[in-house]
Structure formats: C-alpha cells, structure tokens
Amino acid sequence: MFLAKKNRINVFKILLYFGFAYFFWLMLRLTLEYIPAKPDISFLMIKQTEVMEHSAYLPIFYTHVYTSIFVLMTGFFAIIRKDFGLKNFHRSSGKMYIFLLVIFSAPSGIYMGWFANGGLFSKTSFLILGIFWWISTFLAFKYAREKKFSEHKKWMWRSFALTLSAITLRLWKLVIVYFFQPNPMDVYQIVAWLGWIPNILLVEFLIRKKLI
C-alpha cells in the first residue's frame, strides 16, 4: 500500500518533469527568436514607442529575455533538490538562480512592467508580480544563508511559482483565445493577473497543507 502510493508519486513527478521540459522547450524557442538581437522583432514589433522614447528599454528588455531563460532552467534544477551525483549541484544551480533573478531578471521585469501593454490594469499586476518575485527570492536566499532550510524551501517554492508564471501566462492566453477570441489587449489584461495568482495560491495552499 505504502509502496503503491510512493510509486504513484514518482510517476506524477516524472510527468511533471516532462511537462516542464516541454514548456521549457517552448520558452527556449521564444527566446531564440531574439537571436540575433534586433530592435524590432517579435514582441518588440508592437513596442516601438517605448524603444524610441526610452533608450534604456531595449537593453533592459534584452537583459530580461536572455537571463530569464537561465533563471527558468536553474530554478527547475534547484527546486527538484537532486544532485545527480554532481557535487553541490543543488547549491550551484540555486545560487545561479538567485543571482540572475535578483540582479537581472526581476529588476528588468519590474522596469518593463511599468511600460506593460494593456494600461494601468496590467501594469499594476506586472509591478506587483515583479516585486513579489524579487522579495520571495531574496528571502529564500537569506534563509539559506541563515541555514533555516524549512523557511528557505517555502520561499523558494513561492519564488519558483512566480517564475513559472512565464509559462502559465502564455498558456492561459492560448486557452482564452481559443474559447473567446477577445481583442489582444483584453486577453493581455486578463492573463496579466491569471498568469501568477493561481500559481501563488496553489503553492500557498500546499504550504498550509504541509505538502511543501
């Protein structure tokens, strides 16, 4: 009975790994659209106002794009807490995650949130998301330094749940467009919030239930 349950959990975990691998692949492909870097490709096609008016926008945008893909990858390796026979694998990937996120990804994300599509409604969401993302990651770092690993683990999960909003936001968009075909910015305003709130609620629920 106990074994069966453990097996089921393992199968579930493997499914999650494959799921993540698939969506990571999609995110990687989106990132590769920005190589070579150009001022007017992909998402930037509709961001030329910001590109023209704020000289900082383009370098900060590219900082976000290029670092975030590594944040997503190292975050995943850190959260599964396995060393795969490599010394300090969890620690190194975690360090990389925290460093890239706190110094580059989150600050650049907050800057971009200020110029987000969809007006005040989505700007508010992206700004809160960015700030929460930075704080949760910083706290995870702080508790690891203090060797309070139970707290470290909780904050890491919160941080990674927000990291995964990169994927969930785009998934929600797909679902909403498939069923309702709203205008592009109406979708954007919805997914700006839907991208991260269910994620953080789920993690909070799991923490309460002592599953994390």
Binding site: L26, L30, F43, I46, K173, L174, N183, D186
Partner: protein, 307 residues
C-alpha cells in the same frame, strides 16, 4: 610641296564629308519634326468628352460542379469592372480594363454613328477577351466575350457601367451600415452540442467567420499619424481593413476578394489601378508600415504560445 598639296586635299575632303554629315543630320531632324507634325495633324483625338472611368457591374454565369450531388449547376456571379478610356482617334481607342486587381490594356475602335466601341484586350492572358459596348450619355453597356472560352469560368459577361469621376478623398471611410463579416476566410471550429432530452453530448465541426469591429469606422490612416497605442487592441481583420482603406481611397483594385467585399459596399470606391504605391502620401506610407508590423504581430502571436 607635293606633300602640302596632299594635306590640303585631305583637309578639304574631310571638311566636305563633315559638311555632308551635318547636312544629313539637319535634314533628318527636319524630317522628324515633319513626321511628328503629320502625326498630330492627321490623327487628331476625337470625342475627348468620352474620356474617363466607367465603373459598375460585370456579371455572368459560371459553370460549377457540386461535389456532393455530382451535378453541374450555374452560379450567377457579379464583379466590379472599371474601363478607362484614355484616347480616342478616328481609327483607334486606347484604354484599360480593371477587374479583381487584374489590369489589362485594350485597343479598339469607336463607331461614331452607332456610338459603340469594340475593345480588344491583348490576348496573352487567359482572362483576355473582347468588349462590345454602347455608350449613351454617361452609361456604358454591352457584353464581353473571352477569347478562350474553356479557360475562364464565365466566358460571357454583361456589363453595366456608369461614368464616374475618380477623386482621392482622405475622408472616405467604410459605410457605417456595412456588413463587417469576412465570408472568405472561414476557420474550422469544433463545437459541442448537448441534446436537452437525451443528455448526450456530441461534437461537431463548424466554421467561424471573422468579424471586424467598429474601429474600422473610427481609425483613418489617411488623415492622422497613427500610434502603436491606437492599434494595440485591434484584431488582424481590423488592421487589414484600416490599412486597405488607404489603398481603396487611391483606387486600388484588390486582388483579394476579402477586401473587395468590404469596399464594394461603399459608393465611393472606384478601382482604377493595380498599383497605387506611388500615390500614397508620406504619412500614409508610415501608417501602412506600422499597420503591416501589427498585422505581422497578430499573425505570429495572437493564437500561439507567446505574448
């Protein structure tokens, strides 16, 4: 001394030849002007009052085949045709025909006693044919027969055209009571249907058509410089109509049925050319470039994983 004589002789000879050359050039120049004069004198343009654009319906019957019943049937079709009469002389008429973005030159004759034209398209396109039309004050009516009857769906068409003055006006917009459904690009869509009595749910395939929003009545790309903010919340069809309104105002004859459908609902749209790129104002060009970028973004991103 002998040498000197020879040189003198040679020089005179050269001079003479040169003179002759110049003389011949002069005479040929004279002849040129003479020919030109003769041309304009002998072939005067007549009936200049008939010059202009005649636009209206171009209708015929297409033979179709129904895949389901395996039977052939006739379908009435109607297109918009413009004939441009550019030059009429005693024995020749020059102009162009434009239908569905296909612009063809024609040459023909005008019969003064019957007030009728016989106009021939060149014949190197499968859609070329001969027009037989009569003119009565402002209306031009008659028929068109394809040269190669097996290569066109409707080899015999009748035309009913009215003379219209083509004027570019940046204020022209799609009519407010237009049908805004794009019937030409249906998308397959799966829908569920639950029978209220049996409670069974069935899936069935259906088609969904795109519908433009009322933004196409409000945003005019010929009058103001558009910003990204103006366009961000628009779907692809809106962007396409706003962009093509610019071309429609300049009399562009659309190859795509989608756009013809929207603009042929207006009374101002007169297709006069298959290329109006040179007529666009700098502001219109900028707006078209912006609209193209947004259309591309809508195509690449709207229903894909991404932003």
């Amino acid at each position: 001394m002998k040498n000197l004589k020879f040189i003198l002789f040679a020089a005179v000879l050269v001079l003479l030849v040169n003179c002759k050359k110049e003389a011949s050039v002069e005479t040929s120049a004279k002849m040129d002007t003479a020919v030109a004069k003769v041309d304009s004198v002998v072939i005067p343009e007549i009936h200049q009052e008939l010059y202009g654009i005649y636009t209206g319906n171009f209708s015929g019957t297409e033979k179709r085949f129904d895949e389901y019943s395996k039977e052939g049937y006739d379908e009435e079709i109607e297109k918009r045709l413009s004939l441009k009469i550019n030059r009429i002389t005693k024995d020749s008429v020059y102009g162009q025909s434009i239908v569905n973005g296909n612009q063809r030159p024609f040459r023909g004759v005008f019969n003064e006693t019957e007030n009728s034209f016989v106009l021939d398209e060149p014949g190197d396109d499968k859609t070329d044919g001969r027009f037989n039309v009569k003119i009565k004050s402002d209306s031009l009516t008659g028929k068109w027969v394809a040269y190669n009857k097996s290569r066109v769906k409707a080899p015999l068409k009748s035309l009913k055209l009215i003379k219209k003055e083509f004027v570019y006006n940046p204020n022209f917009m799609i009519d407010k009571d237009s049908d805004l459904i794009d019937w030409t690009n249906p998308k397959d869509f799966e829908e569920k249907y639950t029978d209220s009595e049996t409670g069974k749910t069935e899936k069935y395939k259906t088609e969904r058509n795109r519908v433009a929003s009322d933004a196409v009545f409000k945003i005019n790309a010929s009058k103001q410089k558009l910003t990204e903010k103006d366009l961000k919340n628009l779907r692809k069809l809106d962007l396409e109509i706003i962009k093509n309104s610019v071309f429609a105002r300049h009399g562009y004859s659309f190859k795509k049925e989608t756009y013809r459908y929207f603009f042929e609902q207006t009374d101002w749209y007169i297709p006069v050319s298959n290329n109006v790129d040179a007529d666009l104002s700098p502001m219109e060009l900028e707006n078209v470039a912006l609209l193209n970028r947004f259309t591309k973004y809508a195509e690449d991103k709207y229903d894909y994983f991404g932003r």
